[in-house]
Amino acid sequence: MERRTIFGHRLLPLALVAPQFLLTLIFFLWPACQAVWSSLTRQDPFGLHSQFAGFDNFVELFTDPLYVDSIGRTAFFMAAVSLLSMSLALFLAVFADREIRGRTTYRILLIWPYAIAPAMAAVLWILVLQPRIGIIGVWLNRNGVAWDYHLNGGQAMLMIVLACAWKQVSYNFIFFLAGLQSVPRSVLEAARMDGARGWHRFRTITFPLLAPTTFFLLVVNLVYAAFDTFGTIQALTQGGPGKATETLVVKVYRDGVVNLDIGSSSAQSVILMLGVIGLTALQFRFLGRRPPG
């Protein structure tokens, strides 16, 4: 999509692009290249020298059962969060799309969680599910259910899935609602006249027409679950107990910042980078769009 460029100046546009370009270079491309370079090096135990190590870091990662576990864990987490969050959002959007009184109010009340920081979502959920102070957490423990996600790995995973999916519903809701509203009313009326009621109409007409939105959101949700959930997980479980909730991004943090294993964490970062590029490229292929914001 081009426009007939109008102004013939040469220096001015360069000056205008310069800030963005510089920032991108310094804080984006350079670190990304450094990450790639670091992933190909090994450091000695004192961090003084680094040696070119080819793909050693990568090989080590993929033969490390802990890392492979982490991949599986993250994949499960991403799928669970995306599925849960998107289904709930779609469900609510369908009903918020109907012409009922007060639907604007409903919408605002369902959209507001967009403002919550991932780390803050953790704080909110603590009040719900923390075993000693959370309303439901306490209730569970007092009624015979041994609920403590600090001790039980499965419960910890459940906890972060719930908290992370919950937070993302509002974003998905916004997009699903817009998508539903872009389905032409007359097509839905034609389906009604053809005899399609409620669920059948949704399944055969609305949902297929929603496919672009759904696909777009799927990619966004997967990226969200992979990265943006860091704050929530760190605040709730710090990746524990043990490694039960250590997703790939948490592992990068642990290995890189806490344990200062630059080579390994860089390699992990590079792998994640490739993953994101792959997902975004896929999205482009099928939609020609990119995630906003």
């Binding site: 032409p184 007359s186 009326e189 006249m193 005899g195 027409l209």
Partner: protein, 355 residues
């Protein structure tokens, strides 16, 4: 028993009364055209019959069954939408098969019906295509095909030709008429185009601001319009309206422009001097040697005929359009006459036909 009976239907949107007291009944196989200007309520009426809107009061009976509160999916009615409303993600075949699949017809039945309709509409080669690969005219035919395969009790057409270009419109109009006759399905057709109305309808319902102005056959509506609205709406160029007064004991009308017009179909009851509106169609105004002088303002040559816009002499300088066969006449003034068998008499206040 009538196939479709609409009784006492009214529709209000908040404070606005969109439809007032509509009653009509259609015989089986009949095509009724609802015609009127934008905003007259015709689409609303159609949607009420379809079940996409609820009437504020009134009842709809289809083939003896009260469908007023029945869901559109269960009414056994098929509708052709103005912008076709085809399912964009389905092929032409699937678009037409959709309603049949819901009804649980066998695959063979469905295939048979769809192919039959496709044959009728010339869509055979397009069955595998998606709507975005079709032209406007083709999409329109798919929309009709989708309605035809359902073999419903009633067809509804919501201005199906308005998105087509002029030549296609004329051709498709004839096709619709032929199809409807051949299939014999009772039909309600909504349009704002009076030519479509005249050519397609067995009967017309002219709607004016939600009110039924006249319900009659096309010729009846043309030759004996019930009021000035109908008279001015049907026929192009529109009927001329001349102010006049009742005189001679109800036997004549004195035009404000001067001449006296004698009624040949009997006296009218009313007081001397009652204000009237006399209507006469442009094609009925005649050129007569000692007639009323008409000053020519504009001549529009159409080839086979000519439209002359002019003004009668004072008072009021009433403007007039006359349609003459052949070429434009010479001169600046024409003398015209109003043959008594072609004049329409309306009450100037109510607009209704004056008896």
């Amino acid at each position: 028993m009538a196939m479709l009976e609409v009784t006492g239907v009214r529709k209000n949107f908040g404070e606005t009364e969109v439809l007032r007291q509509i009653d009509l009944s259609l015989a089986s196989g009949e095509m009724l055209v609802i015609v009127g200007a934008s905003g007259c309520g015709k689409s609303t009426l159609l949607r009420i019959v379809a079940g996409l809107e609820n009437p504020s009061t009134g009842r709809i009976m289809l083939d003896g069954r009260d469908i007023t509160s029945v869901d559109p999916a269960a009414r056994d009615i098929a509708m052709v939408f103005q912008n076709y409303a085809l399912y964009p993600h389905m092929t032409v075949f699937d678009n037409m098969a959709y309603g049949l699949r819901i009804r649980g017809l066998s695959r063979d039945d469905i295939a048979h019906r769809v192919r039959e309709a496709a044959g009728l509409l010339g869509l055979f080669d397009f069955l595998g295509r998606k709507p975005r690969q079709l032209s406007g005219g083709q999409r329109q035919r798919v929309a009709m095909g989708r309605a035809i395969v359902r073999e419903p009790k009633l067809f509804l057409f919501d201005e199906p030709l308005s998105n087509l270009d002029a030549t296609l419109r004329v051709r498709t109009r004839a096709e619709i008429r032929r199809l409807q006759r051949r299939l014999g399905v009772t039909s309600l057709y909504v349009t704002h185009d009076q030519v479509e109305a005249m050519t397609l309808g067995d009967r017309l319902l002219v709607l004016h601001q939600g009110r039924p102005a006249q319900l009659a056959t096309p010729m009846e509506v043309f030759e004996h319009p019930a009021d000035t609205y109908v008279a001015g709406f049907i026929g192009a160029p529109a009927m001329n309206f001349l102010p006049a007064r009742l005189t001679q004991n109800g036997g004549s009308a004195r035009l404000d422009a001067g001449p006296l017009l004698h009624f040949i179909d009997g006296r009218r009851s009313g007081n001397e001097g009652t204000a009237l509106t006399i209507g006469i169609r442009p094609e009925h105004v005649q050129l007569v040697p000692n007639g009323v002088p008409l000053r020519i303002d504009l001549i529009e040559p159409l080839g086979s005929e000519t439209l002359v816009h002019g003004r009668l002499a004072a008072p009021g300088e009433t403007s007039l359009v006359i349609r003459l066969a052949g070429k434009a006449p010479e001169g600046e003034i024409l003398t015209i006459g109003f043959p008594p068998e072609h004049i329409h008499v309306f009450d100037a206040e109510t607009g209704l036909r004056f008896h």
